[in-house]
Symmetry: C2
Subunit: 223 residues, 2 copies
DNA sequence: CCACGATTTTTCCGACATGGAAACTTTGCC
DNA sequence: GGCAAAGTTTCCATGTCGGAAAAATCGTGG
């Protein structure tokens, strides 16, 4: 498997990685308008046509790293102990996954969010990429819970959780309304979701009805 | 409000609707390749350039109807009784919303799913459109629960539920593995999600542990 | 080490999509 | 009716996309 990596294959992967990396860097440093087949190819010193052989669009090139790293999440889920409840697996895996997938650097995440906010094509590529990952997650969940990914709806419902959580968390975090770290936000979000999300439940018949729905996700309730 | 609908505005809306409708019909009847600025413009009897004045892409034109009708969902949520728990609102609104938004005709939904499955651009447009709706839903939820849509994460987390549910349900239903209707599938999905999704929970310490994670969402448990 | 087949990269280029500009038509209003 | 504003159309310049074949590079067996 790892041994069909001759010089040829290594070069191909290196070129792909270099192109993707250059595309990402150009976006972060000079905005998405600076990312063209020409500019990216130039920094890697290949022809623009080669760039297009590897990627169908600049968005695809920019996001290639994230897409690759998304498989980490899938594998991490698969590696959780057999029999562990799915929500526990989420709680264990997602807080780490978010930075791994997004590339560890907060500034880069901010840049990506900013670009995506005003660039429909970038947003579209992200969402379709995530949709593919979601399918893989559904398969893992089905496999681990004994469900049938073809015949059961539940795994697909559950599989939507990680993506939705991460999107919401990243957007929220990028807005700057919190000091919490991304992993912490993911942690609290998963915890809240697992409990059905406190917000929006009717004031419990027991408790003295605190102003309904005032809890803020993403704020630890420390004194 | 309704009175700034002079002849000019009415014609514009009619043209837009006619173009969108023609685009949709062409897709359903002849596949997405038959949908071009030329073909759509021809059936509506305007110039191709006019088509491009209204829509940036054929995908946008095809989905315009769905996008418009998505606001029905948002308004329906807003119209629920004040103080109603969000999950109750979902349970009331989503089963109806799914057919309204998708256009009431099951065959058309199938056609859309088929096209989207093999057409990245179509999928991308759908997802970005839904992302916009999700933002609106988050605002409604925030408004109704007293949360701050800018500062609280919870509404965004909750707002991801309807979209994720509908996507999962439609995909599942379109695969043909069920006889249930779309609204019924939505109903059971919302119910299961509200309870944290039975699947993947450890066998309750009380109950005699039915084979864990075997429940099938979307199958009514009638005898 | 060379040479040949296979794969990748490059050059060249035609087909097509995109959207600006200006002429022309329709609508709103006096 | 007649003028200004808005919408539609024609024309076209520009840029993107990807096919085809030549050129360069790699793997392999003499």
């Amino acid at each position: 498997m790892t041994s069909d990596v001759g010089l040829r294959e290594r070069k191909k992967r290196a070129t792909r990685a270099a192109l993707s990396h250059a595309a990402w860097s150009l976006m972060v440093e000079q905005g998405i308008d600076a990312v063209t087949a020409e500019s990216v190819a130039a920094t890697v010193d290949v022809s623009p046509r080669t760039f297009r052989n590897y990627f169908a669009s600049r968005e695809e090139a920019i996001l290639d790293g994230i897409v690759q790293r998304s498989s980490w999440l899938v594998e991490a889920l698969r590696a959780r102990p057999a029999g562990e409840p799915v929500w526990d697996s989420f709680a264990h895996v997602l807080p780490d996954a978010i930075m791994r997938v997004l590339g560890e650097r907060e500034d880069d995440v901010l840049a990506l969010v900013r670009v995506s906010a005003e660039n429909p094509a970038m947003l579209a590529r992200q969402l379709t990429a995530f949709a593919r990952v979601e399918r893989l997650i559904a398969e893992v969940i089905a496999e681990r819970t004994g469900a049938d990914v073809e015949r059961d709806l539940a795994p697909h419902l559950l599989a939507a959780v990680p993506g939705a959580t991460m999107r919401a968390v990243v957007t929220f975090w990028a807005d700057g309304a919190t000091d919490a770290t991304l992993p912490d936000l993911v942690r609290t979000s998963v915890a809240q979701l697992r409990e059905g999300l406190p917000l929006g439940h009717p004031p419990s018949e027991a408790s003295p009805a605190p102003p309904a729905g005032r809890q803020r996700a993403g704020e630890s309730s420390r004194p």
